[in-house]
């Protein structure tokens, strides 16, 4: 048995009983009390930017707002109070018969006046259809969505846990891990004018975003843990992780003003739904019109659900570095079993190391590294960049790398993937 296999065995022993699945953090329930508040977000280039956003009860402003997680068929009530210097509201694209009470009438829905939390507007609807949706301000939305008043709404179908959770009431939408990709962009100049109270000088026709976000963070902050204390207004991260052969559900939301071509490296995705509806040829068929694609066209206001899986198929070498007589790993791509890595690895002195290199090209294996190198890849996982393929969106105000970018980590079998 090789050294790598020993490590894997140890991992399996340690974590073999771990069946945890990555879930999307958020607020669950049927009644939500949100407030619209201000706060300053941080971006990796050193910006501190005034945002407007939805806050959970007794919580700080969040960018994006709390992810609301409800069950299909539930009557959902969202109560909104306003601590902003302007009226605000919420619209729920894709939801039917939303009833708004209180406040004053606006062009898209009823609005809460700028009364520092004195009054409340209540939005009620029945979440008739499972799927991925969003919510955002319906008041002066060209400014308020830019300022950050956006969030995700996830409607879960009735689950039959026999084969794991599913995105829609159909067996072909099962997944092991789910991740949110809420895509936005910001022009800090507009936020600065709002902060200075120079509202009259804002010209939205000259909007020029220079910061691009996944779940309210820019790379590399996307890869930090969720809820790190130094990003109090940006609680959500974006670090998809999975084991070989598992299925990962991507919930992609175009929450900003612009289109983004979101490109997952490693394999094609299967797009199974758009706007909370399965791509099906007729009701009950399931996503039989699913599209295999390597770039998800994310359109403002639209949501996309996609399934991603990965086994290393097509690489032409054994990702575990097995000898032919070694046993197969779970979900290993058998035709490549025992096939050697087709290159000679360079000598260590000819390499520049990144923090995510385990010292070995093989999954679950650790190799010797010079002192002080590595350390960001505790399980010997394989990393794939997932990012906007509009390359200029991979910067933080002109500084590369950053922006709408993160990494998928393929973790070795048995490595823990917690929430």
């Amino acid at each position: 048995m090789t050294k790598k296999s020993n490590l894997l065995l140890a991992l399996l022993v340690l974590f073999g009983g771990n069946t945890a699945q990555a879930a999307i953090p958020g607020l669950s329930g049927s009644t939500f009390e949100l407030s619209a508040r201000t706060g300053h977000i941080s971006t990796p280039d050193g910006h501190s930017i005034l945002n407007w956003g939805y806050a959970p009860p007794a919580g700080a402003m969040q960018y994006p707002g709390p992810t609301l997680i409800v069950d299909q068929g539930q009557l959902v009530t969202v109560k909104l109070r306003n601590h902003l210097p302007a009226p605000v509201s919420i619209v729920f694209p894709g939801q039917e018969s939303v009833i708004a009470t209180g406040g004053t009438a606006g062009p898209l829905t009823r609005e809460v006046p700028a009364d520092d939390g004195a009054s409340e507007v209540t939005y009620t609807f029945r979440a008739n259809h499972a799927g991925t949706y969003m919510y955002h301000s319906g008041t002066n939305p060209e400014l308020q969505v830019e300022m950050g008043l956006v969030g995700a709404l996830i409607v879960k179908p009735t689950q039959t846990m026999a084969h794991g959770p599913r995105a829609y009431p159909n067996a072909h939408t099962h997944y092991q891990h789910e991740y949110l990709f809420l895509l936005t962009e910001i022009d800090p100049g507009i936020h600065e004018l709002v902060e200075l109270g120079r509202m009259g000088e804002i010209d939205m026709t000259k909007r020029n975003p220079v910061l691009w976000f996944i779940n309210g963070r820019n790379a590399p902050d996307t890869m930090l843990n969720a809820f790190v204390p130094w990003l109090p207004h940006q609680p959500y991260n974006s670090l998809p992780r999975m084991h070989p052969g598992e299925t990962l559900l991507m919930r992609v939301i175009g929450a900003g003003h612009d289109l983004h071509p979101f490109h997952p490296h490693g394999n094609n995705v299967l797009i199974i739904a758009r706007d909370g509806r399965m791509l099906e040829s007729s009701p009950g068929m399931g996503p039989d019109l699913g599209i295999s694609d390597f770039t998800i066209k994310s359109i403002p206001g639209q949501t996309v659900d996609a399934l991603f899986t990965w086994t290393g198929k097509g690489l032409g070498w054994d990702i575990y570095g097995h000898n032919p007589e070694d046993p197969l790993q779970p979900n290993e791509y058998a035709p490549d079993h025992g096939k050697p890595l087709p290159i000679q690895l360079p000598e260590k002195q000819n390499l520049t190391f990144g923090g995510s290199y385990s010292g070995s090209p093989f999954l679950g294996a650790m190799g010797a590294l010079p002192p002080g190198e590595g350390g960001l890849n505790e399980n010997g996982g394989l990393f794939f960049m997932w990012h906007s393929h509009a390359e200029k969106e991979m910067v933080n105000d002109d500084i590369f790398p950053g922006g709408m970018m993160t990494m998928l980590i393929i973790e070795p079998p048995g490595a823990p993937i917690e929430h």
Partner: protein, 317 residues
């Protein structure tokens, strides 16, 4: 069953087979006012005869409705556009997605100036389509389109497959046309004051920066009445067209639609969405079948001023 319907349709329409629709259009100048600011536009007018100018210049141009049985469309085009840079301004008409014999015309330097034959100022040009397909299409100027299309020379053309059916087996009860476009007033000012072109203050459209984002040629105002969108239980056909130069993403708030066709071609399978990706030059047909109520429809690019907002009102059954 389908066969007999087809036979019936054929019999009903038989007298029209091979007949031709003909329109007399005039390319001319008009002034529109957006947010209190006058903007000189170029647009199409529908005249009743070649020797009269009795049609109003419209932005977008008049909706051209071709009866289901007509396989040939003829547009007679009169050119009343002003001179630019001391030279006459030719014009033409193209319909992306419809088959026609295209005869491009070139400028002196050899570069294509017009996708098809031009009509000189004061002249009358004839444009013919012999195999007109059903669906929703844009017509627009095919001459110096970078300038002329954004000046306002665009409109909607529609032809149903048969009475009450936009495409084969796609029926509808009511329809709404929603044509999106935008205006850069600085560019229009330059054209209107003959300050556009080589050696002039504005040399090209490279710095195009629209400020007014329109639906059916107008900016939404809070006092605008809602658009009647049929009654509960009816199939309402939304013909969405983008005559602008940028992508719009119309979003219907409160109901999903069935997208049935794109660029005049019926989808094999309908798409159930509340949002539509409507690139520049694209048309999309969607069916809405919603409960009584009002449904905002707006460009989710969230264009400044929400000028693209329409409120669709579905009446009680």
């Amino acid at each position: 069953m389908r066969f007999s319907t087809a036979v019936l349709c054929f019999l009903a329409l038989a007298p029209n087979v091979g007949s031709a629709a003909e329109f007399i259009l005039r390319a001319d100048v008009a002034t529109k006012v957006y947010n209190g600011r006058p903007v000189v536009m170029w647009g199409f007018a529908l005249d009743s005869a070649l020797d009269v100018e009795d049609g109003a210049v419209q932005i977008p141009g008049p909706v051209l409705t071709v009866p289901p049985g007509d396989s040939t469309l003829t547009i007679r085009l009169k050119n009343k556009l002003p001179q630019l840079n001391g030279a006459p301004t030719p014009v033409s008409i193209v319909i992306p997605g419809q088959m026609a014999t295209m005869t491009p015309e070139r400028a002196g330097n050899g570069r294509v100036r017009s996708f098809t034959h031009e009509t000189a100022p004061g002249a009358v040009g004839t444009y013919t389509w012999n195999q007109l397909a059903p669906g929703t299409y844009l017509y627009m100027s095919g001459t110096h389109p970078a300038v002329q299309v954004q000046m306002g020379l665009y409109g909607a053309l529609k032809k149903d497959f048969s009475a009450g059916n936009v495409y084969q087996n796609i029926s509808y009860d009511k329809e709404l046309i929603l044509l999106y476009s935008e205006v850069d007033p600085a560019l229009h000012d330059a054209v209107a004051s003959d300050n556009y072109g080589p050696g002039k203050a504005v040399k090209s459209t490279i710095n195009y920066q629209p400020r007014y984002f329109l639906v059916n040629g107008t900016l939404h105002a809070p006092t605008d009445p809602a658009l009647p969108a049929g009654a509960e239980g009816e199939q309402v056909l939304l013909r969405l067209l983008n005559a602008g130069l940028r992508t719009v993403a119309p979003l219907l708030q409160g109901a999903h639609m069935k997208l049935v066709a794109e660029d005049g071609k019926r989808y094999r399978f309908q798409k159930e969405q509340y949002s539509v990706l409507l690139s520049a030059g694209k048309t999309t047909d969607a069916l809405m079948n919603a409960q009584a109520g009002s449904y905002p429809l707006y460009d989710r690019r969230l264009t400044p001023g929400m000028g693209t907002l329409s409120i669709l009102q579905v009446a009680a059954p």
